[in-house]
């Protein structure tokens, strides 16, 4: 899987851009979107006003107030920087994409004539012709022709893909290049609404909407902010009662240290970075909501073919009837398959060659006549030199042999049944009236798929395999692959029904699909991942598109969704746990005059009241910067049960959140006293 190269975390261009953007983000209209940081900005402004007043009046506290003011502004700036960094990484990707959206000319077919128009003037429904070497001017559906298309601009994968009219490979994306042949494309998106445009705006985060969980978390943070405002405001009269009038800068310092600035400052960066990580895996989520939902998925619907098994069944064994030698069977089977271009057919030729050293023969000379497979006869074969060789479904081939006056060997039925029971497909081979034996066609399970399902199970997901096979075959494959459940003899409607049933039980369902008949199920699923190689209908129905068209990608998607939520939870817990230490730093410092007894709470032995307050404020600001990498990369996710993940993270971010600031504040205090800043 070609992963889009992850940009280095501290890429110089991104950092420079982010620094510029973080200045712009001081605009209170932008800050107002984030209640926690807005409070910090307002209080920073208030302290600055007090500072100016004191400068004019000539107070001796100016040095202290100046430092508080500076660090408060830094706190806002650091949060801005975190958000700008996350956006910058997206923008870097968007710029790459934009480069591909050059001004192309399009050959529009109008009333049978070909006219050259700029790509930007194309509207939904227009038809264009694209020849080899030309850039496809917009998203659309191939209506005529077949061509090899280089989609590297979108997927990063330079190997060309085939796009043809009809079927499940008809969608093309604007910005990709036709490298051979020609296609006629009906445009399906107006300018500004194309896939590329959507991708650019998504990775840039320009139209980013807060996701539901992000909104709920913001409410919690706003609520906590209000509580701490109550605490700080009421502390003023309480202190007055004790004979200690508190100054605004120290109250503000306490407030800013208490309100959850760490998570408040990093919240949007976490969300943007989550989308960014998906893009790095070549998955485009159409909304942040879908990414969140991915973390919640309970049930995963997987198509057997292509996802669990390699797309095709392969011949794995020849089983001859009693009076026939294996060589004869292999020879007949190979003959019957020589003209069979299906992967199954080819695998028979290859198996015969490998096991019995039978070379492929040139049949044209022998005046051979091929009988292609049809849904009615359900068998194929060859008539050559008076022989009539057939291979196909057991009942049909048996009927064929009988019609030719043959007898059916008694051992045939048990062989056929054994293969079916094991999940394979038996192909019976007959030469006229003689039943020669059976070819065992086997579904080949993708390597490592069992381990992946075990991982999903550990994450708490249930996997359901969907297949058109009969229940016997399905059960065998399900067992071999290690899925939790399966639906055999499924039709496209089965998927939709299954999703509805699961959802009725309150579960969230994810599925992958590519074909037009998958579209309703993709739309119904909570997380619907459409293959980029699929049809336009499927791409529009799903809420994510996998550019690599790799069906196992869903596991990464689920992990990224979970990682996003865990990172939010971890930083929230950390942020709140931090407050404990800050109290021990600030409260004794505030009341050093009124209640000197409270000095026994100064368990960190901070040098002076000023340095104590300053250290807490500086720690509070610096921790935002220190956690930017964590916010952008996300907390590492391990597929363990919920209880063990929880205890682990509680220990790291909860208990760690209580302890770390004690160490950090003390260290900063030592530096401050050494530098004689307070």
């Amino acid at each position: 899987m070609p992963e889009r190269k992850a940009t280095a975390l501290w890429d110089r261009n991104i950092v420079n851009g982010a620094l510029r953007d973080s200045i712009r983000k001081f605009d209170p209209r932008i800050q107002a979107r984030n209640p926690v940081m807005f409070v910090v900005e307002v209080t920073a402004a208030a302290v600055t006003v007090i500072l100016l007043r004191d400068v004019i009046a000539g107070s001796k506290l100016i040095g202290f107030e100046l430092q508080i003011a500076i660090w408060l502004w830094f706190t806002v700036g650091f949060a801005n920087f975190a958000e700008a960094m996350a956006e910058g990484r997206g923008k870097a990707q968007a710029d790459n994409l934009r480069r591909t959206r050059t001004e192309t000319q399009a050959r529009q077919i109008k009333e049978g004539r070909e006219i050259m128009v700029p790509a930007t003037s194309l509207r939904r429904g227009d038809v264009v012709l694209v020849k080899a070497g030309e850039v496809i001017p917009g998203d659309g559906e191939v209506i005529e022709g077949v061509a090899a298309v280089n989609e590297a601009a979108i997927t990063g994968e330079s190997a060309p893909v085939i796009r043809e009219s009809g079927g499940d490979r008809s969608a093309v994306t604007g910005g990709t290049t036709v490298i051979s042949d020609w296609i006629k494309v009906r445009i399906t998106a107006n300018p500004g609404e194309t896939f590329l445009d959507r991708m650019i705006s998504l990775v840039e985060g320009a139209k980013r909407q807060k996701t539901p969980n992000e909104i709920a978390l913001s409410i919690l943070l706003a609520g906590l902010t209000i509580i701490f405002m109550l605490v700080c405001v009421s502390l003023y009269p309480f202190a007055l009662y004790g004979g200690t009038p508190l100054s605004l800068p120290v109250l503000v310092a306490l407030l800013v240290c208490l309100i959850p600035t760490t998570i408040g400052g990093l919240l949007s960066a976490i969300g943007i970075a989550g989308m960014d990580r998906l893009v790095q895996h070549n998955v485009l989520a159409m909304s942040g909501r879908a990414v969140e939902a991915a973390g919640d998925v309970d049930t995963l619907l997987l198509d057997k073919t292509g996802t669990i098994t390699l797309g095709n069944r392969m011949a794995s064994e020849f089983i001859a009837t009693l009076e026939v030698s294996l060589e004869e069977l292999a020879d007949a089977a190979q003959l019957a398959s020589l003209a069979d271009e299906t992967p199954e057919g080819r695998s028979i030729v290859v198996l015969a060659k490998r096991n019995y050293n039978l070379r492929g023969r040139e049949l044209a000379e022998k005046d051979a006549q091929f009988i292609p497979f049809s849904a009615q006869t359900r068998m194929s074969g060859v008539d050559v030199g008076g022989r009539r060789i057939r291979k196909g479904a057991a009942d049909q081939v048996v009927k064929f042999a009988r019609d030719n006056g043959g007898a059916i060997p008694a051992e045939l039925a048990p062989i056929v049944e054994r293969i079916s029971r094991s999940g394979g497909t038996p192909l019976v081979v007959a030469d006229g009236p003689r039943i020669l034996g059976v070819i065992h066609l086997k579904d080949v399970i993708k390597e490592g798929i069992r381990e992946r399902f075990a991982r999903l199970r550990a994450m708490g997901l249930r996997t359901v395999m969907i297949t058109g096979d009969n229940p016997l075959t399905a059960a065998a494959i399900a067992n071999e692959a290690g899925v939790d459940d399966f639906r055999a003899e499924a039709t496209p409607e089965t998927k939709l029904q299954l999703i509805r049933d699961e959802q009725a039980q309150g579960k969230l369902v994810a599925m992958i699909g590519d074909g037009t008949n998958d579209a309703p199920a993709l739309a119904q699923a909570d997380v619907g991942i459409a293959m980029n190689a699929g049809t336009q209908a499927a791409r529009e129905a799903g809420n994510m598109v996998d550019l690599d068209s790799n069906p196992t990608k869903i596991m990464e998607v689920v992990e990224i969704g979970k990682q996003l939520l865990i990172t939010r939870g971890a930083l929230t817990t950390f942020s709140i746990a931090n407050d404990v230490a800050k109290y021990f730093a600030i409260i004794p410092a505030l009341f050093v005059i009124g209640y000197p007894e409270l000095q026994s709470l100064n368990i960190m032995h901070l040098a002076t009241p000023q340095s104590a307050i300053l250290s807490a404020v500086i720690f509070n600001a610096l921790i935002i910067v220190a956690l930017i990498p964590l916010a952008l990369r996300g907390v590492k996710y391990r597929p363990l049960g919920a209880a063990s993940i929880l205890s682990r993270n509680l220990l790291i971010y909860g208990l760690g959140g209580v302890i770390i600031p004690f160490i950090g504040i003390k260290a900063i205090d030592l530096i401050i006293s050494a530098l004689q800043l307070a």
Binding site: L220, V231, F238, L461, G506, I566, L598
Partner: protein, 575 residues
């Protein structure tokens, strides 16, 4: 001493645990409308009441209608109580001819009893007639408790129902709480108390001449019936001014134990009611365990602080050690028949639950000993808590804990399969926010204005503690007092009345709305990836979240009151 404490606390804790299970399961049956052994007597009575009141018991209410019914019922009850207080001189059962209660005190008392606070800015025996006590106050002891239970049951239904638009019928829940739970328990309990010597009569006060020839008036009346519901309903309003320290309210260690059990019984039982109705008893046990841990922490701290006594006295050569002849420690304001352990234990129990009945004077506790009741209330009366209100307060904290840490399992937060989204978060936050606002804002005002400062009886941090305690107990609907504060003034009567009403009803509405919102949701079945809310990790998390939220909110205020007072005491300064 240690053995003594372990035995007394151990027996109490074991009995609470044992009683809570059958009581909780019984309550689940009562509110699910299932058969109980009291049905043959109570069903006809219940039907009669509904017919008289025009209640259609099968008609369920949405959260808003439920809330309006609850508010209307409480409002009318409050007005009636106010009227009785003002008119008691013209009403029967007033052998002492006690005059009308002054308007501000009557308002304060009406608010206090309606809100299940039972703060008493008066002395019962010299202010309230028997009729006021029985028809006015005792009536509210029953119905304010029943209202709490009803709301808790409605909230439970919100958590366990799926795709539902209703939470039950307030009138039915109220009636059943009184008839099936409070009345039977009170009748049995009152008889036990009478057996143990608590008076129950309508006699005028007895005039006696003591051995020394002094003249003494011995107050009495229908005490036992008042006493039992005061504990069961976590009301706490004493018949006498001395409350449960008075020998007629609480004559001996046995009644002391029974009364403490009565305080916790229903609140502890409701956790199992919740588990049973949720179809997973471990969910109930998890809440019970979190409550029990917090209770044991508080009890240990209080007993330790009180037993340790005052270092100042030790310096003067006073023996404060426990021995065969004395219980040692800080005995100021405590009854000798209860000693240190049962006084500190009671103080913890009565402030864990929003009861507020006292058997010792919290004002006289050591600073840290006094901090325990204060913190218990600041935690929001959810350590078992008030009947009903403790459970729904705990459920809101569970929602918070699940939301903060639940994200860390990699799923959007859910509790009992219900997704916690922005609407739920808004309501939970509102519930949590109102509480500190009701304490910190008025206390901030009271400590800087004259009428506020006029009430305190000690200078310095202790005076501050008195004011902080008063507003805390009012918002928490506790009703216990740092008795040093003279709160029977216009300012405190009105201010505390408003805070008590706010602490009760401003919080009940968002919690009902929260339940209404949850009831309408579908339930996500649990999987291996689901946050497990029935296990040890959750109990630890919930306990930690509760402690941290309370500590972050109230640490600065407490630091300026009991904490600084303690530190000063260690450094040889008393207030």
């Amino acid at each position: 001493m240690l053995i003594n404490a372990l035995i007394q606390v151990g027996i109490f804790a074991a009995l609470v645990t044992i009683i809570s299970v059958p009581l909780g399961l019984y309550m689940a049956r009562v509110f699910s409308g299932e058969q109980t052994f009291l049905d043959p007597i109570l069903r006809p009575l219940e039907r009669l009441l509904y017919r008289l009141a025009g209640v259609h018991p099968d008609r369920e209410q949405g959260w808003a209608e439920y809330a309006v019914s609850m508010l209307l019922f409480s409002g009318v009850g409050m007005v009636l109580l106010y009227a009785i207080e003002r008119l008691q001189l013209f009403l029967p059962l007033n052998p002492q001819h006690l005059s009308a209660v002054p308007s501000d005190l009557a308002f304060n008392t009406a608010a206090s009893f309606t809100s299940n606070t039972n703060w008493q800015a008066y002395a019962g025996e010299t202010t309230m007639s028997y009729l006021t006590q029985m028809a006015g106050l005792a009536f509210h002891n029953f119905v304010s408790a029943a209202t709490g239970i009803a709301v808790a049951i409605a909230v439970i239904r919100g958590f366990v129902r799926r795709n539902a638009s209703t939470l039950g019928n307030f009138w039915v829940d109220l009636t059943r709480a009184v008839l099936w739970i409070l009345l039977p328990l009170s009748i049995v309990g009152a008889l036990v108390l009478i057996w143990q010597g608590v008076p129950q009569n309508f006699s005028p006060y007895t005039q006696v001449t003591t051995l020394e020839g002094a003249h003494q008036v011995i107050a009495q009346g229908p005490v036992a019936s008042q006493e039992i519901i005061k504990q069961l309903g976590t009301n706490g309003g004493g018949f006498f001014n001395a409350n449960s320290a008075h020998p007629y309210e609480n004559p001996n260690p046995l009644t002391n134990l029974l009364e403490m059990l009565a305080i916790f019984a229903i609140a502890a039982g409701l956790t199992h009611t919740f588990g049973q109705m949720a179809g997973d008893r471990r969910q109930g046990w998890a809440l019970f365990a979190a409550m029990a841990i917090l209770f044991l922490i508080g009890t240990t701290a209080a007993i330790w602080a009180e037993q340790k006594g005052n270092p100042q006295f030790a310096a003067m050569g006073v023996d404060q050690h426990a021995s065969a002849l004395q219980s040692g420690g800080n005995m100021e304001g405590k009854e000798v028949r209860f000693g240190i352990v049962n006084s500190a234990l009671w103080a913890t129990v009565t402030t864990d639950a929003s009861c507020g009945a006292v058997n010792s004077m919290h004002d006289s506790f050591t600073p840290l000993g006094g901090l325990v009741p204060l913190v218990n209330m600041q935690i929001g009366e959810i350590i078992f808590g008030g009947v009903g209100s403790g459970l729904y307060g705990m459920l809101v904290m569970a929602v918070m804990a699940v939301f903060i840490a639940g994200l860390m399992v990699g799923r959007t937060p859910e509790y009992l399969g219900k997704k916690i989204e922005s609407r739920e978060m808004k309501l939970a936050m509102l519930f949590i926010l109102i509480f500190p606002a009701l304490i910190l804002i008025p206390a901030g005002i009271a400590v800087v204005i004259k009428p506020g400062l006029a009430g305190i009886s000690n200078p310095g941090p202790h005076g501050f503690s008195q004011i902080l305690y008063a507003f805390t107990e009012a918002a928490a609907n506790n009703g216990s007092a740092f008795a040093g504060l003279n709160a029977n003034s216009m300012f405190y009567n009105v201010a505390l009345a408003i805070i008590m009403l706010g602490g009760r009803f401003l919080m009940k509405v968002p919690v009902l709305a929260l339940a209404g919102s949850l009831a309408g949701k579908r339930t996500v079945p649990p999987s291996a990836g689901t946050f497990p809310t029935g296990g040890v990790v959750f109990v630890v998390l919930l306990t930690a979240v509760i402690l941290i939220v309370a500590a972050l909110t109230f640490f600065p205020a407490d630091a300026l009151g009991p904490i600084v007072e303690h530190l000063a005491m260690v450094q040889h300064q008393l207030f």
